[in-house]
Symmetry: C2
Subunit: 534 residues, 2 copies
Amino acid sequence: MGDKGAHNNRMELNGKSIIGQGRSGGSQKTFYAVNAATGERLEPAFHAAAEADLERAMALASAAFPVYRGLERARRAAFLRQIAANLEGLGDPLIHRVMAESALPEGRVRGELGRTCFQLRFFAGIVEEGSWVDARIDTADPDRKPLPRQDLRSMLRPLGPVAVFCASNFPLAFSVAGGDTASAYAAGCPVVVKAHSSHLGTAEMCGSAIRDAAAQTAMPEGVFSLLFTEGHRMAQALVAHPSIKAGGFTGSRGGGLTLLAIAQKRAEPIPFYAEMSSVNPVFILPNALQQRGAQIAAGLHGSITLGVGQFCTNPGVVMLPVGQGGDGVVSALGEKLRATAPAAMLNRNILHAYGKAVAARAGDVRVRSVAAGEQPGNAAVPALFEADAKTFLKTPELSEEMFGPASILVRYESLDQALALAATMEGNLTATIHHAPGDEAACAKLIAALETRVGRIVFNGYPTGVEVCQAMVHGGPYPSTSDGRSTSVGARAIDRFVRAVCYQDAPAAVLPEELRDGNPAGVMRVLNGVRGRE
Amino acid sequence: MGDKGAHNNRMELNGKSIIGQGRSGGSQKTFYAVNAATGERLEPAFHAAAEADLERAMALASAAFPVYRGLERARRAAFLRQIAANLEGLGDPLIHRVMAESALPEGRVRGELGRTCFQLRFFAGIVEEGSWVDARIDTADPDRKPLPRQDLRSMLRPLGPVAVFCASNFPLAFSVAGGDTASAYAAGCPVVVKAHSSHLGTAEMCGSAIRDAAAQTAMPEGVFSLLFTEGHRMAQALVAHPSIKAGGFTGSRGGGLTLLAIAQKRAEPIPFYAEMSSVNPVFILPNALQQRGAQIAAGLHGSITLGVGQFCTNPGVVMLPVGQGGDGVVSALGEKLRATAPAAMLNRNILHAYGKAVAARAGDVRVRSVAAGEQPGNAAVPALFEADAKTFLKTPELSEEMFGPASILVRYESLDQALALAATMEGNLTATIHHAPGDEAACAKLIAALETRVGRIVFNGYPTGVEVCQAMVHGGPYPSTSDGRSTSVGARAIDRFVRAVCYQDAPAAVLPEELRDGNPAGVMRVLNGVRGRE
């Protein structure tokens, strides 16, 4: 790479916030990351960012915005690709730090790094192709009666600096260089990231990769900053800062709603995209159960325990017919979960919350515990519960998320009851339908009920596994996300950070390339009502 | 039309809310529309809707939604076109009622009816063409390593029943059958309209036209309801109702923010699109002033007084260089405004608020009154004020909207000062730049400053006049609208009432036509990353 010095610097953690191309000593306060599996403190000490660091990051981001949004598409794409290359260049030290901070296994971490780099290059490709800006042109008609028609041209333009909050459960793919950052950069927005306190070292390494990429591709300095903070004060100050124009968050409902309220109460309210909680209901229809019961039990086991259940798409509620076939799934799934080894979780808070949620269900007389071993205290034991549909329908707390390797099986007696379950669920990221020949009518009715309640409907599959692609929707009606019209994964994630701007009778020289006569950018656009590349 | 009975019914006002295909007696409370010019009471009495009317309208709308959203595109288009035909069929009685209720002149009313019908047919065309659903398909790749890729298909789907609030200043184009209704219908959403108390008879006529169109084209009954109410209680109950999934509003900042807060505080928050207030700054650059000063003064006069200044795009603040050229515009514009006859406004509240706003400016010692005749009490007299840029910059209340035929000229001394004015303005629907050869550098800097502050930038023109077309953006950063990513005019208005839904490994039979193999709908879509019609 001929870049050995920078590369080495990216390995050596110094625990200071990254403010543009510089580092900040921050406040006097320091804190440490922790080995998620052992609880041991990890070096070095991290310095909590000071107010002045936030102000400097914001001033740099504001100054960078007009420059960055005006860059030609190839430049923005090159920046995104350089970030991916720098992340890959971090090599094993990054992998090992992520493993230590998250207790995630090596295969998963390497897979997540691959996904993160793919995502950066995916958005680079979208930026380069350019049609995402949705350019529309209505040319002038000076002879129109009663009034001449003006020349009107519009396209999507970036909102401004974006605040990104790292997610506990994806130290790479939904954190410093994750989907929010990649899509904000694709849109043309500078980014200020708040690191997650669980993976500080990972954040610093990824932050250094972005900072260096910005320098290597001659981006304006303020295109990136990374703040280390403990507690909520700085996160709230970031969302409240007048220079921030949008926010992206993946985490708990409480945290998301607190930041959303701040975003809405500002003198100038801003869009705040919080992806919060989801139980991802799975509906198993009678013929599917009869034909593939054992297979479904095995598939559910894999999906419930994947990543120690720490996915927003984890199947937390499964609707299963009453009767012998369903009983078979209950016992097969229970057996598999009981046989699954306890595993360390991402951090102590998550483990504690999981233990509490499982204990609450286990102690609920309305619920049967199929598998709910004692939680040993330092690792999560998978858990499975069972309730009848009537009880579930009148007990809203039973549909609350248990973040971890746990699920509740809800036994329904009739299609009407299954439809009632679908209609009364809160908004979710996904719903899944297992169907087989003979289930067609039931399936159609379920789809109609679920289509307005979730972002993605999975057929004969499992909700975990969120593909980065054009068609993905990883967002859903409230409370799964704060804005049910948004997705945090896939090409449409860019749309969160833009708005349409219209130019009326603009001189050709001031128009963005995508709106010029003759379509020099070669984008798909709408010209006088006709879609094409002309 | 072979439909004489229905046609006559549409003329005869009975003052009762329209609930689906039925009418409601409402509560005991009655109220009247008023002749806006004379203050005389207009027959008949209107009956305030009761709680039960709202509940019935919502139950019908909820039942209609799954049917309406599933209709083939041609059916929805036919419904929109039938509404337009029915509106045109209302003929002179509609024109005369609008004139009486709004004091708008006949030409304007006929023009607005034309625009309203054009808008309905414009959205019918968009629905029929179908590409607006933004279909995206990523086909399966079972051989992909390490994991196979699922088949993922997504498109925009309607949110559900929409609450529409009629605007005082557009009894037709932004009211019962206006842009919010047309775009919600295009999206696939039923509509429940709250009539504006200033144009009750107009609302009933237009409502009858929609109700009959629903019957004529065999739409589900609950696709439309119209509620007559006085005061704010019912409006608030409508936004708070759990069956409502989005709202559209054009009106005052106070009214918009109140309803927005209700929408955000619901158990399930919903998007609420309020188009509120805007002063639409106009920047006159030095060379443009020198070359076309007199022409610009005449153009500003036309734009300020158009429709008695009762447009959200009225130019309320004009930035003008100091010096002789600017002085010429001040005196020419002042003279023209002083010579403009007083005119009746839309209603007494608006006239009263206008008089108050003008009096406040006239009594402000920091401001010079160029034209601010006494307000006679029953008609609006145009007003013009002048302030220097320094004063304006440090006096935020001077940039508040005066809804009516009034504007303030702000005299700037340097380009830096003009840029400071641009940078400190609140969000606006539009900004205008008058430029001429020699102004290129200043123009570029102004565009950069304004692009993030407004929805539409007008060059060498005037902000009034909002074309219904693909490229229009009639929305802007807060507080001009509650959601700066939205537009209430033009093709993108549909996007307010939809969200993307993804289908993973769905059986072909359950997929919407736009997502099927072979593209039977013939829409422009993204197939494995490539845009086209295949």
